[in-house]
Structure formats: structure tokens, C-alpha cells
Symmetry: C2
Subunit: 410 residues, 2 copies
């Protein structure tokens, strides 16, 4: 299609007053509805299974049934998990804060000068922001279909003792949707042995049970491998119910080796009396024994939107060679790559046509995609009709930006 | 009474198999019952007054009606408050963490070497633990009936630029129960002007509405005075619903000047997406327009226990000169001073007779009371009968320890 025709179609879109938003991995209202019975579920019974009155202070590790829920998410035993407050991101902050300034089973990272964090890219912007907030320099490695480029990762930790941690979203990764292969998981489990003492694997299993296609993708459990390798206390695992129940009003979990959890509890005791155990009990009552069923209800809501993304991209861009994109079986995102140098322009064009996308570059540390090609698509929050409409706009914007570039080059 | 008779009475007590606990400022079950309707109070309506769907992510400052509740507690306007998660202690940690390592509107404290914190004593052990966890040295000043010894405080901040903050529990102070006088509040409002840049007043108004005698004690509002003095951004105010609704499952608040809140929000955005807004809405729905009535119900439960403490101490120790104690009109504690050098022994004697008290020294940094005389009495969690029994034991233990000492000296 000639560029003039694309410009014409785009101009028509601009007049259509669209207002579509595919920016964030937020659940849709219909998904939130699935958990509305949380409020009132306790029915006057505030006693945990160990007899704790959850309405009073205390219990830094969380109540047993909440730890059981965390264990189910992280595929570990309940004693390998602490159940905390409403945000795994905040638990990650606590872990990094402890490691940086006070030391977790080792000297504080900051004692040995500026610290670095390995960031597979494209990745999750909030991991990068958190890293940056500690003054840590990001070191990027390529995210491949089976996880991070482990040759590069292993070289980095062996060559540079100031490389202190690696960010991992091991299942339905943000944003590519890939799941780490058994070999990658195994190599990550051994990674702390290659690294300087105090190295941490930050294992953010945010989409542990968030499959929307059946059968569910299997992630190789890392903790048994880490135990075998003697690295369990260097694996900090995270999960939460944020995309299971009400986002931001759920329960977050941190897991790992016994000494790691002991050290974290000691540190946490300086600034916490205990988590919101009432909310923990609510979540256990809602999800115990029916997590799979509950997540299936999410999948019913989410899957059509992801199918619409695939269909729209295929229809608008299939066979053109103008973009590649991932086909996740779970999680919250599709990762799309334009031709180099076009992502910013595409996101800008889409915005001007009323379709807000995650800013180009957001999937890279500092918001800087060196190839300016990656775009994260987050289809869950919008309605199905909005997703269909937004993807059509996105495809057109990619075709237009590509055509403009070819025209300029010609 | 001769020491032998006291020893005989004490030995009889030891055989009575008492098991009483006056250690912590925890609400009793009957107090927690007052808020059980929190669970289910939303009745399917998850929309905040500004239209926010509280079930989804976002809103770092909290929903308007929660900020209104925080404003009521802190005696400020809603725009002077952020509504956070379940623990004011954790908000204090965030503020100190930001000030120490990253700087709040000023250079990080740590950049200028070891930092010190002014700790009025006797005071709250968790403040001291938090201070210590940052490697900050405590500098103690005497807590008087009208607040901290302000002559000493002002000298300290003027003489030593590494004095970075002061801990204040301005109303029904922990543990003495005193409320700062208007003059003290006014001098504290001006304090940051005398101190090095970056100084913070940590204004932990934990017992803001926790009066159990009528009329309620009036605390002079500090923020207007601070605004007049140009120090509002150096006043970090804290409150929570922990002793209003369910302890540990409530909503905490941080307040202060506009630039302070902006700076905190910027920092918080690195590690938080938003607070538990569902729980914020629950609390607003429960307490809006009926906070005073709700706190009156607490008072009905709490006041008899405090009266029992006063009656028991008066009966067992009145006129003996062996102890002095405070007579709070609100809050959670009574502070008792034995003759010097006896607190540890008294607490030990009580424990051996089945009455657990807060460890002697806990009201001083590092757990070290230089005069070994202060004992904190926390009567709320026990039943009224238990309080009566425990105070009898405590009084006997004080008389016994005092008599033993006199005997040794003779």
C-alpha cells in the first residue's frame, strides 16, 4: 500500500476520537469481580488455623494458610515462604534495601562500591526503576525464547564482582511471555556459586499460575535445584495475588532458603510488627483448594483479548516483515518489535490517534531501547472491542511509520 | 511489713500458677470486636468517592475518604496527608530510609557521617529499635510532664549538626501518657530552624484520639505552627487505625508539608504501586462521621483497666515512697518508677510469679535504663480481673525488692 493511502487512513483514524489504553498490566473490572466475595468472606470468624486471632498484632511470617497459598504459587513448601503485605514490589525493595545497606548473610553491597544488577531485556520497567532508585547500574543481557542469555549472564558474574543480582520473571515473562527452560533454571540455580558472595537471584514469579491456554506451562522449580547446588539462600522468590484477586489489595510472598528467610525476618522486625493477617485469611479462605478453578475464570476473560491481539497483528502485519511479536500462553503482555528506530514514532502515532501504549523504551533500563524497536502490548484492562480497535490502529501505525521510513530512504 | 512476711507472701504467689501478661500495648479481643463489621462493610460497592475502583492498582496518596480520616486523626487538612498501608512503623521506616540514604529535600544524612536521633526517655522501644537499625546513635533527653526537656533538645540540635531527628509521641505518650504542652509543641515546631538542614521531627501521633477520660486531652496542632515558622516540610506526622480498628490490619498515615509529601511520593513510587485501597475504603465507611463514638466504645473497655492499675498501685504502694507512677487520661500505658536499681529485679520477680511485664529497660535505647527504675505497664490486652491480679503481684514485688535492698543495706 502506498504511503499516501496509509497517511489517508491514519488521518481518518485521528478524526475518530478513539480513546484506548493498552499501557499497563492491570486486570479488567470483570476479572476483579471474580474476587468480590473477599469482602465479607470471613463471616465473623477471624481465627487462623493455628488459633491466631488475625485481628491483633504480630506474626511476621504470616499465618499458616497464607503461607500455604504462597507455597502453591511459588511451588515450594510453606516453610519456604513468608506471607507479607499487599505488594511483591515492596518486598523486593525490602530485600534490596537489606542487601545494599545492611547485608543479608554477607557484607552490605554498598561496602564494596557501586553495585550492578543484571537486567534481561526487554524486561519489567518497575524492576529497572527499583534498581535505579538504589543507584545500581543496570547491565543488560538479551532475553531469548528460553530465558536470559545464560552464557552472557555467567560471564558477567564471573568477570565482575560488583554484579550483585539478576532480575528474573521466569514464567510468562514481562513482556515477552517466555518461560525459562529447565536448562536456564538450572543454570540460574547454580549462578550464585559463580558470583561474588552476597549475589542474589531475584525470582519474581509474578505470573506463576496465570496461564490462559491449556495445558498450563510448566516452570522447572528452582528451589530444589538451588538446594542441591547449595545456593538456596541466594534465591529470593516473589509472588503475589495482585493479578489473582484485587490488584493492590492482595497478599505478597517472599520465599527462599531457610537462612535467607531468617535474615529477612530479623531485618523486617525493625520496621514491621506483622502483615495484614485479616486480609491473608480472606485470601486463604477464597483460594484454598480452588486456585486452579479461579485462575481458569481469569483465563476465560483474558484469552480472547490475547487472541484478538494475535489476530489483529497477523491481519495487519502478517507476512509484511515489518514486525515480529510474541505469542504468550499466559501472563499479561505481548512484546512486539518493529524495524529498528521506529518504536517511538509508532507509539507517538498511536497516541495521536487516541491509542495509548506503554512508552517506547519502557522495557529497557532508563527507558532507553538502544534499537528503538520494542513495544509492550498490555491487552487485559481494555474491553475486547477496544483491544480489537487498538491493535488495528497499532498495525496501521507500524505500517505507516515503516512506509515513511522507506520513502525517506528512497 | 518485715521482709520475711513479704517473702512468705511472694512464695505463696509463686505457688498460685498465675499466667498474666502486661507486656504489649495490644487491644483486647473485646476492642477488636468493635470493628468486626469491617469485613463485609463494602457490600459490593468498591467505588471511592472520586470514582476510583479501589480494587485495581494505583493511587499512591490513598483515596480521598481515607485521607480525610487521616486528616481527622492528625488534625490537619486532607491534602496534608497520605493514606498508606497497615503500619505507621513501616511509614516511619520509609521516611528514615529516604532521609538517610537518598535525602528528603536535602542531602542524605549518611553523606555527613554517622547520624544521631534525639530520643526522649522513657520512650517507645520500637522507635529505638528502628533508630538503631539505621546505625543511628540515640541521644536521650528527659521526658517531663509537658513533653521532652526542650532546653536540652534545643541545645543538642544547635551544638551538633549530626543530630538529625527527634522522636515524639505527642499525645498520651508511650509510656508516660503525658501530652506535650502548647509551649513544647511550639518549640518543636521551630526546632528545625535551629538544627542542621534536613532535620526531621518524627511526630508519631499514635494515640491521637485514644482518650479514655472525658473531656479528651487537647494537643496543640503542630502543622499550623510549623507553617508559620517555615518548617512544615521538616515535620513528618504519623498516625494509624491500629488501635482504632483491627491492630495490624488497618490504615496508616503520614502527614506534613506539601513539599515533604511530594518528596515522599516520589521516593515511594520506586517501590510501591499503591496502598490497599479496598481496606482504606472499608475504614472510611466504618469510621466516617463516627470516629468519636467508636473511640468512646474503646474507652468503655479500656478505662476500667487503667482505673484498676491506679487503684492497685495506690493500695499496694501508696504512701510508701517505693514507687511513682503516671496517671494517663488516654493511650495504652502507665509508666512506673521504682527506687533506682530495682526495675530489673522487680520484673524478674513478677515473671517468676507468673506476671510477664515489658522487660525492664525497654523504654530506653538499647534496652538500658541507666537508673534501672522504669517499668512500663500495658493493661489493655488482659482482662480486668487479670489486671487487678497482676498489679497486686507487681506491687508486692516492688515492696519485696525494696525491702530486700533495705535489708542488705542495713
Amino acid at each position: 500500500m502506498p504511503v499516501e493511502e496509509l497517511e489517508r487512513q491514519y488521518a481518518a483514524l485521528q478524526g475518530a476520537n478513539l480513546k484506548l489504553d493498552l499501557t499497563r498490566g492491570k486486570p479488567a473490572a470483570a476479572q476483579l469481580d471474580l474476587s468480590d466475595e473477599l469482602d465479607g468472606i470471613l463471616n465473623g470468624d477471624f481465627t487462623a488455623e493455628d488459633g491466631t486471632d488475625v485481628r491483633n498484632y504480630g506474626n511476621l511470617r504470616g499465618i499458616p494458610e497464607a503461607r500455604q497459598l504462597g507455597a502453591e504459587l511459588l511451588d515450594v513448601a510453606p516453610e519456604d515462604v513468608m506471607a507479607g503485605g499487599n505488594a511483591s514490589l515492596t518486598l523486593m525493595f525490602y530485600v534490596l534495601d537489606a542487601a545494599m545497606h545492611y547485608g543479608i548473610l554477607h557484607r552490605p553491597w554498598r561496602d564494596a562500591g557501586p553495585a550492578k544488577a543484571i537486567c534481561p531485556v526487554p524486561g519489567y520497567d518497575r524492576h529497572f526503576t527499583l534498581t535505579d532508585s538504589f543507584g545500581m547500574a543496570p547491565v543488560t543481557v538479551a532475553m531469548q525464547d528460553d530465558g536470559p542469555d545464560m552464557d552472557a549472564v555467567e560471564r558477567l558474574v564471573q568477570d565482575d564482582p560488583t554484579v550483585r543480582c539478576i532480575w528474573c520473571v521466569p514464567k510468562h515473562s514481562n513482556p515477552t511471555g517466555c518461560t525459562y527452560s529447565p536448562e536456564v533454571v538450572e543454570r540460574i540455580a547454580r549462578l550464585p556459586k559463580l558470583a561474588a558472595p552476597g549475589f542474589l537471584v531475584l525470582w519474581d514469579n509474578a505470573y506463576a499460575v496465570h496461564d490462559f491456554e491449556s495445558p498450563a506451562v510448566e516452570l522447572t522449580p528452582i528451589l530444589p535445584l538451588a538446594r542441591a547446588a547449595g545456593t538456596a539462600d541466594a534465591i529470593a522468590m516473589f509472588a503475589s495475588t495482585s493479578k489473582i484477586t484485587h490488584a493492590g489489595s492482595g497478599v505478597a510472598f517472599v520465599g527462599g532458603g531457610a537462612e535467607l528467610l531468617d535474615a529477612l525476618e530479623r531485618r523486617f522486625s525493625a520496621f514491621m510488627i506483622g502483615p495484614d493477617k485479616v486480609n491473608q485469611l480472606r485470601h486463604a479462605r477464597l483460594l484454598s483448594g480452588r486456585l486452579a478453578e479461579h485462575m481458569h475464570s481469569h483465563a476465560v476473560s483474558v484469552q480472547p483479548k490475547f487472541e484478538a491481539v494475535q489476530a489483529g497483528l497477523e491481519q495487519g502485519l502478517g507476512g509484511t516483515g515489518l514486525a515480529t511479536w510474541t505469542r504468550p500462553r499466559g501472563g499479561y503482555f505481548v512484546s512486539l518489535d518493529t524495524q529498528p528506530g521506529l518504536a517511538k514514532e509508532v507509539v507517538g502515532l498511536a497516541a495521536d490517534a487516541g491509542v495509548v501504549l506503554t512508552p517506547a523504551g519502557a522495557t529497557f533500563p532508563g527507558g532507553k531501547d538502544p534499537d528503538d524497536r520494542n513495544i509492550r502490548i498490555a491487552p487485559t484492562f481494555a474491553t475486547l472491542d477496544e483491544v480489537v480497535a487498538a491493535i488495528d490502529v497499532l498495525a496501521l501505525c507500524i505500517r505507516l511509520a515503516s512506509a515513511r521510513k522507506s520513502t525517506e530512504a528512497a
